[in-house]
Symmetry: C2
């Protein structure tokens, strides 16, 4: 939690000391829960593991200029999203969020009020997800703002989900809708707008909110794991096409996705169509939706109905099937073609 120090240059004038910053952050995040024995301010956090539970660890960074743009998202949004994308990874494993470690890399321009905004947004997601801040690290950077988050989650033995449990014949489902975040980002880019701006159209405004503040499907993931309804699961952080490919590859199967069944967000579909863009391509290739893709055995529909009833309205749409042949197929207009490769970071 301490930062090794050498080769130091001038410090950001507006930020008043690591201790003060940590204090401001911790005020804005939920109080540590009982399993945390030592929290912020020591070399490490000391945690008492939950009796009988397994732990899930995940880490994901948001880098300015790669994962966010301050013209499109406020610092509150960025703090919120940095937590949310990690909560989504836990959701995909069926795990409940418990503790967060924050590693912040702060450029010169960051003021104390900016740190407050990041922490306010992170605090909102943390409260929604039931997360407490266990610790972290602060460092200056000559580069872009980075919010790197590590989460610790909990799950019962044999109740967690991986990408690799699918079998040929399993049905492929996706939660919610796809394409909304991509449409929201597309709208923001078309305006190069101020961070607070929103479209007049309510459907499109909802897309912008989905982009800025993704909603991790924590409850769905936990239910799919606990009830053993799903055999494999992954979130759509890198897009639906990527998730479909990853789950099939990890399960040693192929996959067929039927484009006609995809639950495209209606406002997103209109937005892309009006711009002469292919809504399907724009939606399956783009990341940021943070829905879950999961597979259930052919005879598993009763368990899934049980999960569906508990979700109170979140759509779960069957979009395809795992196959013995290891091809990755997208059926469009009745014709099979290659499932696009999702977004690649490298």
């Amino acid at each position: 939690m301490t930062t090794p120090g050498s080769q130091q240059s001038a410090a950001p004038a507006a930020v008043a000391g690591e201790r003060a910053i940590i204090g401001r952050i911790s005020e804005r995040l939920p109080r540590p829960s009982p399993p945390l024995i030592v929290g912020l301010g020591d070399d490490g956090a000391v945690v008492k593991p939950e009796r009988g539970a397994l732990q899930v660890l995940t880490t994901d960074a948001l880098v300015e200029g790669v994962h966010f743009d301050r013209r499109y998202s406020s610092l509150e949004d960025i703090g919120y999203r940095a937590m949310a994308v990690n909560v989504s990874d836990l959701a995909a494993m069926g795990a409940a969020p418990r503790l967060a470690l924050w590693s912040l890399m702060l450029p010169e321009w960051v003021t104390a009020a900016d740190v407050d905004r990041l922490a306010d947004g992170a605090g909102q997601m943390a409260r929604e997800a039931g997360l407490a801040l266990a610790g972290g690290n602060l460092t200056r950077t000559p580069g872009p703002l980075v919010v790197d988050v590590t989460l610790l989650g909990a799950v019962r033995p044999r109740k967690f989900l991986t990408r690799s449990g699918g079998r040929p014949g399993d049905h492929v489902y996706v939660s919610g809708s796809v394409g909304a975040a991509a449409a929201g980002l597309s709208w923001l880019r078309s305006r190069a707008t101020a961070a607070g701006a929103e479209p007049d159209d309510e459907g499109l405004a909802s897309c912008v909110r989905r982009y800025r503040r993704p909603v991790p499907r924590t409850r769905l993931g936990a239910l799919l794991g606990r009830t053993k309804a799903a055999r494999a699961c992954m979130d759509l952080s890198d897009g639906l096409a990527d998730a479909a490919r990853q789950v099939a590859a990890a399960s040693g199967t192929g996959i067929v996705i039927d484009a006609a069944r995809l639950p495209l967000d209606p406002a997103a579909a209109v937005w892309f169509a009006e711009r002469g863009m292919d809504a399907l391509d724009a939606s399956v290739g783009a990341g940021d939706d943070y829905e879950l893709l999961f597979v259930i055995p052919p005879k598993g529909s009763r368990r899934l109905e049980g999960v569906r009833r508990l979700l109170r309205g979140l759509p779960l749409t069957r979009i395809g099937e795992l196959t013995r042949a290891t091809d990755m197929v997208l059926i469009r207009d009745g014709r099979p073609g290659l499932l696009p490769s999702g977004f690649s970071h490298f």
Copy 2:
């Protein structure tokens, strides 16, 4: 473990896909130990907590241009050091290293061979420390290379160390010697030398190695915690003056350090003296030593002797005392003065 993707620009040409990079990294790090149920390649790592143990979580980032300079350290050194500084945080808590999460932010210039070098160095430290790689995250960055590491360690209940357990009258100790890393860095700066270069003088060469590849005091930390010899402990990542201040502040005491007792590295003392620099100032204010500062009760010297015997030669030097008055004092040439404020990141 997946990276949220949007606002992407061109990808580094020389690096061949996230999956391939993860494969190269995992080849170079120790195999996961039994408590790891799901490792690399899923949304999160699934860990079975050790029966009856508490867990310690710590995170620390190395940022190019802030914490390292590629003119002074090879990529192997940087990978090694990124692990070592985190292992040192666990050592300061008395915890044994178990699992690592790696979050890498890779600029355009990074090649696949560069990633191999980072992983080779990290792998060396991981093997020395008994760490396995549980997961991580890769992302491109328009900024500097960042190696952000999160470690999970294990410690028995009531056997861990914090900064806050000291009481007035406790004796303050430091392990090993101080100033070596600062002298090593000073030598490297004086040469602006190639990453592999080393001084002819063996003492100074040892200082350079201490800077490039710090040796975390894992065994000392574990013994101090297990035997309850120490009441409080912290590593010297931000320098001796900083550690002394932090332990005293967290313990609600003052501290008096006697400069005459400080175990200055002899080669470092000569190096600084020859340059007309004050060796004491250069050594107590500089980070990177990664020794441990700890306090023992006045009647605790027998327990400490037991620890000392098990360490086979690592010096443990009494350098001062915690006080009821909350002043932070450094005695030089018999005169009390203010203990310097240590390195500040902001």
